[in-house]
Symmetry: C2
Subunit: 200 residues, 2 copies
Amino acid sequence: MGKGENTRDVILDHAMRLASEVGLAGLSIGRLAKDLGMSKSGLFAHFQSKEMLQAQVLVRASQLFIEIVVRPALAAPRGEPRLRALFERWLDWTRTAALPGGCLFVTAAVELDDRPGPVRDRLVALQKEWLGVIARVASTGISEGHFADNLDPDQLAHDLYGVMLGYHHAARLLRDPRAAARARAGFETLLTATRARRSA
Amino acid sequence: MGKGENTRDVILDHAMRLASEVGLAGLSIGRLAKDLGMSKSGLFAHFQSKEMLQAQVLVRASQLFIEIVVRPALAAPRGEPRLRALFERWLDWTRTAALPGGCLFVTAAVELDDRPGPVRDRLVALQKEWLGVIARVASTGISEGHFADNLDPDQLAHDLYGVMLGYHHAARLLRDPRAAARARAGFETLLTATRARRSA
DNA sequence: ACTAATAACGAACGTTCGTGCTTTTATTGC
DNA sequence: GCAATAAAAGCACGAACGTTCGTTATTAGT
């Protein structure tokens, strides 16, 4: 690994943390350079544009997310236990990843939802992938007999995302100390519902 | 109503719509002035600072929200019917209010959650008020016998907010045409859960 | 109609923004 | 240790930012 590649990693790491606080649009080359003690142009040369930087930050964050949340959860048994493992790690991942401003994907999702472009496209792809992972685990939960067989895995994935967004809102904006407890209660409500057959 | 007050309303109205797309931080005096065909300084004079403008936009949006969502829903019978009315109007309110960029409060919540200051404080107060309204309606639902008497109204309010955030995410970022259906399904899951006594 | 007050204007301020070019400094391969 | 290469710095650019100033139109009260 050349030296450039190394500093590039350092830049992306810091950019990811900064973006969790101020958003991807709030990132500024000047601010990053100042924080890292290097020149604007020297930093800029690692990326062809700010847009490229933003996209790379997203990629880096998703790698970290997989490493911190997804991979370890795969150690849990298929079906419900694995879903629980995913949920707990997801709930805690901004702490584990030391993201000072909360989940970067939540921030990016809101600020990019009306801004077409490659960065938005990449985020959408990542989010759909993640929802797909959840849905697949839920689906396995059906075949394992943990959940009712008329459960809609995509709906459960969607609902789980809602629980996480609610947690983010309560924890970050409202600074509600019960946020995690509320999220877990919401999760249990969803899981309970997966057991009763629902009227179509 | 003097002339100044009128143009001030026009400015705030447009600023609110613009902010729903680009966020409160994304608002710029120059852009607003250009859109409305007036000078930067003339527009600026209506507010002492950009921060004041942002705060006023929030106030304006909450007035609109009350008018469009809360007030009409109060016509529905107390308890569950009123909660349903609130939910349906909430789900549709950005369309009714003609906000092109989705719910302004969602956007503001994410971008302000790490930025202390009067604007953030105002948003937090507004959000707590709104959650309080939901909780109070849910609470009435208990005394009306619609919901189990060990239901936690604050938890239901929190969960409902999560459903709405999930809807926003699916509709705005993922452009999922099933977003509204998903949100309604999540709502019904929550309501069903309020009927069964839960183990403490 | 004349005056006092309000509203809007145009220009400029100092910063910061992203992005080029050119030059200097570090690192690498032989 | 020297040459080739990669990385960072330095400098400058045009544009946009929020804000202030002094001045001109427009309105409202008498």
